[in-house]
């Protein structure tokens, strides 16, 4: 896992990475209008970063997306979900009540707090799967962190 691959694989994966990332973000953001949502979108985002790890080697990727970044993003996603629920408790009557406006049917910013909940879940799932991958690849190293 330390060594990368040949020049052809490195070039093609560097070209394809933004498109796969953008496709994953599109599936997360349109979860209330098309099939999909936070869970498959987060897996697609994690798969695009895993493709870069396979092509370039683990050392090169850890300079920009280290273990600490993935841990912080995972925690932020969980806190966002619970914070939206507690907002419903403060401004309404019960946990996870609708606090954002319902809007026009069929637009992007419609449907109450489904969009923001799915964004939180997408970040959480992507960071979680990347964290599992990092922990399984670095288990025989000296000091990680």
């Amino acid at each position: 896992m330390m060594a990368g691959m040949t020049v052809i694989v490195k070039t093609i994966s560097r070209i394809m990475f933004p498109f796969i990332f953008l496709f994953g973000v599109y599936i997360v953001f349109h979860g209330h209008l098309t099939p999909g949502g936070g869970f498959p979108g987060g897996v697609i985002i994690a798969a695009s970063v895993a493709m870069l790890i396979l092509a370039y080697g683990l050392e090169r990727i850890q300079k920009s997306t280290s273990f600490l970044h993935a841990e912080v993003l995972d925690t932020l996603g969980s806190v966002a979900i619970v914070a939206i629920g507690i907002l419903g408790l403060i401004f309404g009557a019960y946990f996870l009540e609708t606090v954002f406006p319902l809007g026009v049917f069929g637009q992007l910013f419609s449907g109450g707090n489904f969009l923001w909940l799915y964004i939180g879940v997408g970040i959480k799932v992507a960071a979680g799967i990347l964290l599992i991958l990092f922990a399984m690849l670095m288990w025989d190293r000296g000091e990680h962190k």
Binding site: T34, P35, G37, F39, G106, V125, I129, M136, W139
Partner: protein
């Protein structure tokens, strides 16, 4: 008296998973058998809620022209929501089981389940 393709494939997947659990003597291969069995169960659950000549349960203007047409022709959305949760929990269980397999390999030196049963002093 008609065999339907969804149910037959789901039961064949479960049987293939049971055979893999019986015949293999490697922890990781038995884990693959468990994952195949869970996929068969998910397929069976989703095809329970099908309606004959049904449409997808998303209310677009291209799929259904009006709400009464949509209500009488859409498939059941409840098993799809429950299977979505079950797929994510399947990922978590498989990840934890694989990390325990790595731990067992480092401690015993082998992945044979008949040799791991012995207690070491």
């Amino acid at each position: 008296m008609i065999l339907s393709l969804n149910y037959v494939v789901a039961m064949l997947l479960i049987s293939a998973g049971i055979y893999c659990l019986l015949a293999k003597k490697n922890l990781v291969k038995m884990l693959i058998g468990i994952v195949v069995m869970i996929d068969g169960v998910h397929l069976f659950l989703i095809s329970l809620g099908y309606r004959a000549e049904g449409i997808v349960p998303i209310f677009n203007s291209e799929v259904a022209p009006s709400l009464p047409y949509f209500v009488s022709r859409a498939v059941d959305p409840l098993p799809q929501a429950l299977v979505l949760t079950s797929i994510v929990i399947n990922i978590c269980t498989t990840a934890l089981a694989l990390s325990l397999c790595i731990y067992a390999y480092k401690h015993y030196g082998t992945l044979d389940p008949s040799k791991i049963k012995e207690l070491k002093e």
